[in-house]
């Protein structure tokens, strides 16, 4: 045992962590060698984030021990972790949105001149770090004005800037596009060459084999295996994660696009810069993907369709009749549903129960007896969401905020399925969702299409778009750069259009 501590930078041994009603971790171990990228894999709710929070001093573990450089440590807060050479990119963005980029970067350790903050040094150091990481963001801009991916890059830069020996990255790429992912990989390689170890959590299979040296797999709060990445295949990882074979990543498509359901003409947003002159058609039973770089205004298009965002001009025709979605209420009445991109700010009610979160968009359905809601229907529908979406939760009454990110996403999708929409708008629906669950969601999408619904799906994951959709609308700078048939296109063609 003493022998191993010399070769490992971090050893977490037999960690157990319980929450009221849940055993989140049971005797989990993780050993990371210096200068390696160690992937931590597992389904949603497997306990990856919890394990990392125990390391970082956010949670106190109930049992087990942690060795860092052979020394036993137990951080009681994040400050201690940071001071001992451990930094972390958190799964949920943890930023002070009202402050600017450099204030966020140096929070907790501002450079000082006497009792005053040395703003000049702060600026110069920020510029230096951004330069060394090749990031192009103004250190003085407010975080709230950044795009999600820019925020993510700031978080990554921040974690790097501590000059830690060990950096934890909990789903750093969930809101990054391919180009930015490659950018991150370059940064990781650079860190690796400086003998920094990285714990890397992601649900994107392609990334894992590309970047990692070793892979540790967890399932249901338990340690399953640690393997060298070389010689490992995606299928093997998936098998270890889900405990059974998952022969294909995408379900076989059985939908047949039929007659026209939605026609969008000359759609232009009211406040510019935004999307301009968007035209497309959606057929019943069709899955239309929307591709584009971050900032290409894909999100704003679906928001406009759903009545969240005002339009200046353009028309929507539903089944040949012109309609107007002035507000989400109108949109819902017209049979639209929208799963938003930012789960935390526009999706979940964190303090409320899973049941509440499941039924909130569908209340009218429960007024079976006059003004009162039927408890039985509410219960049954919640049960349907939990069962059919395979949500991992102790009960219907559990607050959604205590679920793992992926499970929260499943509840949201379930919420909108309950409204039985004709047109389903999905903005990055599989963000942060594990492979097994992704497959289930693809199946659901397929099934909906097969039932004759129209589906529009924004995604930044190219394989997903190519594997699931019928056609793909590619956006670039607020304009439609083109619509391609999925079967006849290629990743390269889409990238070319997106960069137009």
């Amino acid at each position: 045992m003493s022998g191993s501590s010399t070769t490992h930078l971090l050893e977490m041994i037999d960690i157990t962590k319980r929450f009221p009603g849940v055993v989140a971790l049971q005797n989990v171990s993780l050993k990371v060698k210096p200068g390696t990228v160690h992937a931590l894999m597992g389904e949603n709710g497997a306990g990856k984030s919890t394990l990392m929070k125990c390391l970082f001093g956010i949670y106190a573990m109930d049992e087990g021990k942690i060795l860092l450089n052979g020394q036993e440590v137990q951080f009681v807060n994040s400050k201690q972790a940071l001071e001992n050479g451990v930094s972390m990119v958190h799964q949920e963005l943890n930023q002070v949105r009202q402050q600017n980029v450099m204030d966020n970067l140096w929070l907790g350790r501002y450079p000082r001149k006497g009792i005053f903050i040395d703003e000049k040094k702060m600026y110069e150091d920020t510029v230096a770090i951004f330069k060394s990481l090749d990031i192009n963001i103004n250190p003085r801009s407010k975080v709230s004005t950044l795009s999600v991916s820019e925020m993510q890059m700031v978080e990554i830069a921040k974690a790097v800037s501590y000059n830690s020996k060990l950096i934890v990255m909990d789903e750093p790429t969930s809101s990054l596009t391919e180009t930015e992912v490659n950018h991150l990989f370059k940064i990781i390689r650079k860190l690796q060459s400086e003998n920094v170890a990285i714990i890397y959590i992601s649900h994107k299979m392609e990334e894992i084999l590309k970047i990692s040296d070793e892979v540790t797999i967890m399932r249901d709060g338990q340690y399953i295996a640690t393997k060298s990445a070389s010689g490992l295949t995606t299928d093997e990882i998936i098998k270890l994660m889900v405990g059974r074979d998952l022969s294909q990543r995408f379900p076989t498509k059985n939908n047949k696009p039929g007659e026209l359901i939605l026609k969008v003409s000359n759609l232009t947003a009211e406040t510019q810069p935004s999307f301009i002159d968007i035209n497309f058609e959606l057929k019943k039973g069709e899955i239309l993907g929307i591709a584009g770089l971050v900032g290409s205004k894909r999100t704003e298009v679906v928001e406009a369709l759903f009545g969240v965002r005002a339009i200046k001009s353009g028309t929507l025709e539903l089944n040949g009749k012109e309609i107007q979605n002035h507000s989400p209420q109108h949109a819902i009445k017209n049979g639209f549903a929208l799963v938003t991109e930012e789960r935390r700010s526009t999706g979940i009610y964190p303090e409320l129960s899973i049941s509440f979160n499941s039924i909130i968009a569908n209340l009218r359905q429960y007024k079976t007896k006059g003004v009162f809601l039927s408890d039985k229907k509410v219960f049954n529908d919640t049960k349907w969401v939990i069962d059919s979406m395979k949500v991992k939760t102790p009960s219907q009454k559990t607050t959604i905020g205590s679920l793992s990110g992926g499970n929260q996403q499943k509840v949201i999708i379930g919420r909108w399925l309950l409204t039985r929409p004709d047109i389903f708008l999905l903005d990055e629906p599989t963000r942060g969702i594990d492979v097994g669950a992704k497959f289930e969601i693809y199946q659901l999408i397929n099934q909906l299409a097969a039932e004759g619904k129209g589906i529009i799906m924004i995604s930044s994951e190219m394989p997903e778009l190519l594997g699931v959709t019928d056609r793909i609308l590619v956006m670039s700078n607020g304009r439609a750069a083109g619509i391609v048939e999925t079967e006849k296109t290629s990743q390269e063609e889409i990238m070319r259009l997106a960069a137009m």
Binding site: F19, P20, G21, I58, Y59, A60, F306, V308, S327, P328, Q329, A331, I332, L338, T340, S345, T346, G347, I348, Y349, P350, E351, L352, F356, I359, I360, A361, L363, R364, Y366, K367, V371, F372, L373, D375, R415
Partner: protein, 340 residues
């Protein structure tokens, strides 16, 4: 062994989740130890009847708090309703009537007039908050000041100027001060009104679309909007309901006290908000239960009544009361303590 662990864990979890009720019981036990004769039906009835109109106000307030709002104008609305209803319910043979020629009105007329007035103010509050996006604190602060001015103008008029409005008629007094005799005791009507209001609000919060929307708006207004909730409309209705409850409570206050002035209800909002928070309603919205609100009000009233009953000197009462409130909530917070 494992089973035992789970049992122990679930008992301690239950205790944590219900710590405020436990606190309520401990408080009662403490008072009874200090003064055993506290344990009497009279005291019990007194506390309940004193809590009644406060419960009605707190229920209105709690709805607003759950939408992540607040209502500083509550107390002044109570005052307005008290003054209006008292002025319309003076006994016809009373010498100093505000409206000397007003005939005897059936009880429900003045109550409805008072409630209509406060309901309207509630609607205005709701519109200012939801349509003009004025933070509820400021919207209702402005309303609190304005309503006080209005009440004063209504109140301070010839012939008798700013004199308390008294001489209320028999039916009004009965309505607010009497009760249903049970054995040698009387269950005050006040308590019955409070129970009815509680049931009504419980149903609204738990069984109707409005209730769900209320929690949604407080829990995450952005998400509520995208889930198709008409945020403005629901907020306005919640403020309306609160206004109606304040109005009803104001008439009860007038009847209970036997008179009303423009100062009736002053600062009741602070008591109501405090009772709600002690009862577990979150000021940042989205969280709160009817039973918690009732418990919060009862804790406050038991503190008030108990300290007076123990005969503790008034200034010391303030010190003790302040401390108890903080301790109660500090205990309660342990259930939210970072599950580290």
């Amino acid at each position: 062994m494992n089973n035992q662990f789970l049992k122990k864990a679930s008992i301690s979890k239950w205790l944590l989740d219900n710590v405020i009720y436990v606190f309520l019981i401990l408080l009662l036990i403490g008072i009874v130890i200090a003064s055993p004769d506290f344990l009497s039906i009279t005291n019990f009835i007194n506390i309940l009847s004193q809590s009644s109109s406060r419960i009605i106000i707190a229920l209105g307030m709690a709805g607003i708090l759950i939408t992540a709002g607040t209502d500083l104008s509550a107390g002044r609305m109570v005052g307005l309703a008290a003054v209006i209803s008292a002025s319309l319910l003076q006994a016809t043979d009373y010498a100093y009537r505000m409206y000397p020629h007003l005939p005897h009105l059936p009880l429900f007329v003045p109550i409805l007039v008072a409630m209509a007035a406060t309901g309207m103010i509630g609607v205005i509050n709701g519109i200012i908050v939801s349509k003009l996006n004025v933070p509820p604190f400021i919207a209702t602060l402005g309303m609190m000041i304005t309503v006080y001015g209005l009440t004063s103008i209504y109140f301070d008029r010839p012939p008798y100027g700013a004199a308390p409005i008294g001489g209320l008629n028999k039916s009004f007094i009965t309505f607010a001060q009497r009760g249903i005799p049970i054995g040698q005791y009387e269950v005050p009507y006040l308590v019955i009104y409070a129970i009815l209001a509680t049931i009504l609000i419980w149903i609204i919060w738990n069984k109707t679309q409005l209730g769900k929307n209320m929690y949604a708006i407080g829990g995450n207004p952005e998400a509520a909007k995208v889930s198709g909730v008409n945020v403005a409309k629901n907020i306005i209705i919640i403020y309306l309901i609160a206004g109606l409850l304040y109005g009803f409570s104001g008439t009860l206050e007038a009847g209970r006290v036997g008179s009303a002035t423009n100062n009736t209800g002053n600062m009741y909002e602070l008591d109501a908000i405090a009772a709600c928070v002690v009862g577990g309603v979150s000021l940042s919205g989205g969280i709160g239960t009817v039973s918690g609100v009732i418990t919060g009000v009862l804790i406050f009233q038991i503190i008030n009544y108990g300290l007076a009953f123990l005969g503790i000197s008034p200034y010391i009462q303030f010190i003790v009361k302040g401390a108890i409130i903080v301790i109660a909530v500090a205990f309660d917070m342990r259930k939210h303590a970072k599950k580290r």
